[in-house]
């Protein structure tokens, strides 16, 4: 072991000394305490004794040099050992700068990260899912925007229903099964979304439907009169505005049907705003644009808005915002020709009303048979939140307003 012996502070508070004379030379074998050198300090000339026995391997200063206290002055060890190389003094004004003997490699031509080919696109959450389900993303064709691999793509591939054949595009082209020829329709987009919502609604709310009919003879007459007038303003007046108005009146009187159940907090949220959704039939399924603030709109306003929304729906130009925020939904089954129905509630609302076809029918009035225009109504409500009695009362209120439209003027909106 080589001892790098540093010039010690000889106890007189010195910081440096001048090496006057070496008393040994390299190769000498010295005993412990044998004088190594004469060093002159501020105060005196002192002899520096060897701290241990050994062979002098290296003398780090020349006679006449100034040594700082703590600087290595002699290397003592076994014959043949190498003394540590001189560590050069640091040349900053603060800190310890490493003076290294390490040599860096010559620079190589600059590496460039190449553009990655064959990258498949998937969100981080989808990648994670794929990893969990041990699905190889590179084998999937993405059905998302821009060919992105979606969560559904992964779920399907990773162990949804077992497949008889590999999940490739081929299976969608199969023209027959065991029993005969077949054809295919895509189950995605609006259709799929509608399906999802139906399931969610039916499996959450307890659906009960109550049905009734209302004599709308006066309403029909009113509408006939105003249909012509408003058509001059390019407004197509249907029965919908009146039905919306009647519904709003009834919702104000029976607030529990304009609500939402927050099961987590044991809370029935009663909405103080009236956003009425209107189901619109489109080729791919059902869209429900919402009329916001229906209570503040006149029949004329409603007619206009309904017309616009329906057109936008058919043109698939609705904003996501147009379909959010609904509190109650009206679905018109009568436009095609049905009478009664058991509509599915538009989750997370608590009720939905289906309007059947207005048709002439013989009814009995004061013992006589008269012909009246009859409108069938089917109200489905969430029995967790709404009682049957309240639902019936709600329906009665609607009937009153549709039966005698003058009530719109007499009752406060």
């Amino acid at each position: 072991m080589v001892l790098e012996f540093a010039f010690p502070d000889v106890g007189e508070g010195i910081t440096e000394g001048e090496l006057r004379k070496w008393l040994v030379k390299v190769g000498d074998v010295v005993k412990q305490d044998q004088p190594l050198a004469d060093v002159e300090t501020d105060k005196a000339v002192v002899q520096i004794p060897a701290p241990q026995a050994g062979t002098i391997l290296k003398l780090h200063f020349n006679e006449g040099d100034t040594m700082h206290v703590g600087a290595v002055m002699v290397s003592i060890g076994e014959k043949g050992e190498k003394a540590a190389p001189e560590a050069r003094k640091t040349t900053s004004v603060v800190g310890d700068l490493e003076e290294s003997k390490e040599v860096l490699q010559a620079p190589e031509p600059e590496a460039v990260v190449p553009v990655q080919p064959g990258v498949f696109h998937a969100l981080p959450s989808v990648r994670k899912l794929a990893k969990e389900k041990k699905v190889d993303l590179s084998q999937l064709t993405g059905t998302g925007p821009g060919g992105r691999i979606t969560e559904e793509d992964v779920t399907k591939a990773g162990g949804g229903k077992p497949r008889a054949a590999p999940a490739s595009a081929m299976i969608h082209m199969r023209k027959y099964d065991f029993y005969g020829y077949i054809d295919h329709l895509p189950f995605k987009g609006v259709r799929k979304l509608t399906a999802k919502r139906m399931v969610q609604s039916l499996y959450t709310a307890t659906h009960v439907t109550t049905m009734d009919e209302v004599d709308v003879t006066r309403l029909v007459e009113l509408r006939e009169r105003w249909k012509i007038k408003l058509s001059k303003e390019k407004i197509h007046l249907t029965y919908m505005p009146f039905i919306v108005k009647a519904v709003v009146h009834a919702l104000k009187k029976h607030p529990v049907l304009n609500a939402q159940l927050d099961e987590e907090h044991d809370d029935i949220i009663l909405k103080k705003y009236y956003n009425i959704g209107m189901a619109v039939d489109i080729p791919d399924g059902l869209l429900v644009p919402v009329i916001k603030g229906a209570d503040e709109k006149s029949i004329r306003d409603l007619a206009k808005e309904i017309q616009e929304l329906a057109q936008k729906a058919k043109d698939r130009k609705l904003d996501p915002g147009d379909m959010k925020g609904g509190t109650f939904t009206i679905t018109n089954v009568g436009v095609i020709g049905g009478i009664f129905a058991t509509p599915v509630i538009n989750f997370p609302e608590v009720a939905i009303i289906a309007i059947g076809r207005i048709h002439e029918r013989p009814v009995v009035e004061d013992g006589k048979i008269v012909i009246r225009e009859i409108l069938p109504l089917s109200l489905t409500f969430d029995h967790r939140v709404v009682d049957g009695a309240e639902a019936s009362r709600f329906l009665e209120t609607i009937k009153d307003h549709l039966n005698d439209p003058a009530l719109f003027a007499i009752d406060r909106d």
Partner: protein, 322 residues
């Protein structure tokens, strides 16, 4: 309870706190007789006198350095740096000393002081009067950075800042100093530093902003007709990460609105934290609508620089449609 502008709320906070706590001092250029160039300190000199409301020489580094000395010897200085751009000469004192004295002395000394600075663009001012330098100070350990966006918040946050034992950079968005009023209680109240404000609640997207850009965010959300969580950060350091993460986890989409230049602005930090804690909830990359990596232009081009509701709507749409 009266309707106050943001600057009036600041003034009220100062009035009340100086009355309540005799160790609170206000100092800065033109804060005394003139009541401050924005009238933030209006009436204080008249009420509290020369020794508590001090017009200093024109020396920002001096103002901050002297405030530190006052703070370690028993006063609570509320220093005003007249404009954002003039924080630069005081930068050394803030980062070399104000942010460090507690750590350097292992708690033997600490800097309970507030540096109030009108900041941000939108008032067609000369150069250096429209800067958003908040990031430099968020990046400095030992400093808190607070930015109110409403009069109610301004009073509560300023009172909290003055009472906070740590040094607070209190940036006041000058564009909205007088842009609107709000009911501000005359009673004493504070708003906790380090807590964001949920301006609006929704499910489709999270929009985050601070200062004058909270308004921009609100306008954009209405225009875009989205059901959004709007978060006003209020405190930039320490950041209320939990509120951001809870929201983004719910919505899966996020847009951040930042007036300061894009690169290394606070939006980048927020996105980094979303990356750390909510990556798997994201349905789209987090977008940011920011100032550009240019010098803040003079008034003619200013409106092209500042984030607008239109730019934010575009970002929201893109994020929603990803």
């Amino acid at each position: 309870m009266t309707n106050l502008t943001l600057i009036q709320a600041v003034n009220q906070a100062l009035q009340q706190e100086m009355k309540r706590d005799p160790t609170v001092m206000v100092l800065g250029e033109d804060v005394g007789k003139n009541g401050g160039v924005f009238r933030a300190t209006e009436g204080l000199w008249q009420a509290f006198g020369d020794e508590r409301v001090v017009d200093t020489p024109l020396a920002e580094s001096g103002i901050v350095g002297v405030s530190l000395g006052l703070a370690v010897n028993g006063f609570k200085p509320v220093a005003e740096i007249q404009f954002d751009g003039f924080l630069a000469p005081a930068f050394d004192q803030v980062i070399s000393h104000v942010g460090r004295i507690r750590n350097r002395s292992r708690g033997r000394f600490h800097a309970q002081l507030v540096i109030r600075v009108p900041y941000g663009g939108g008032i067609h001012a000369p150069e250096h009067h429209s800067e958003s330098p908040e990031t430099y100070f968020v990046h400095t350990p030992g400093i808190k950075v607070v930015i109110p966006s409403t009069p109610y918040d301004a009073k509560g946050l300023l009172l909290a800042a003055i009472r906070d034992p740590d040094p607070v950079l209190f940036f006041e968005p000058k564009k909205i100093y007088r842009a609107f009023r709000q009911e501000v209680p005359e009673t004493d109240y504070t708003i906790p530093i380090g807590k964001a404000r949920l301006v609006k609640q929704g499910h489709d997207i999270t929009v985050i902003a601070w200062g004058a850009q909270v308004r921009t965010a609100e306008q954009a959300v209405v225009q875009a007709k989205v059901d959004a969580d709007i978060i006003d950060l209020r405190t930039l350091s320490p950041l209320d990460t939990d509120t951001v993460i809870n929201s983004v986890t719910k919505t899966g989409r996020c847009v951040i609105v930042q007036e300061a230049p894009k690169t290394c602005g606070l939006a980048a930090e927020v996105i980094a934290r979303i990356n750390e804690r909510a990556l798997l909830s994201l349905e789209a990359p987090v977008a940011r609508v920011t100032g550009f990596d240019t010098v803040m232009p003079l008034s003619r081009l200013e409106d092209s620089y500042l984030p607008s509701p239109e730019r934010v709507v575009k970002a929201i749409k893109k994020t929603m449609e990803f």
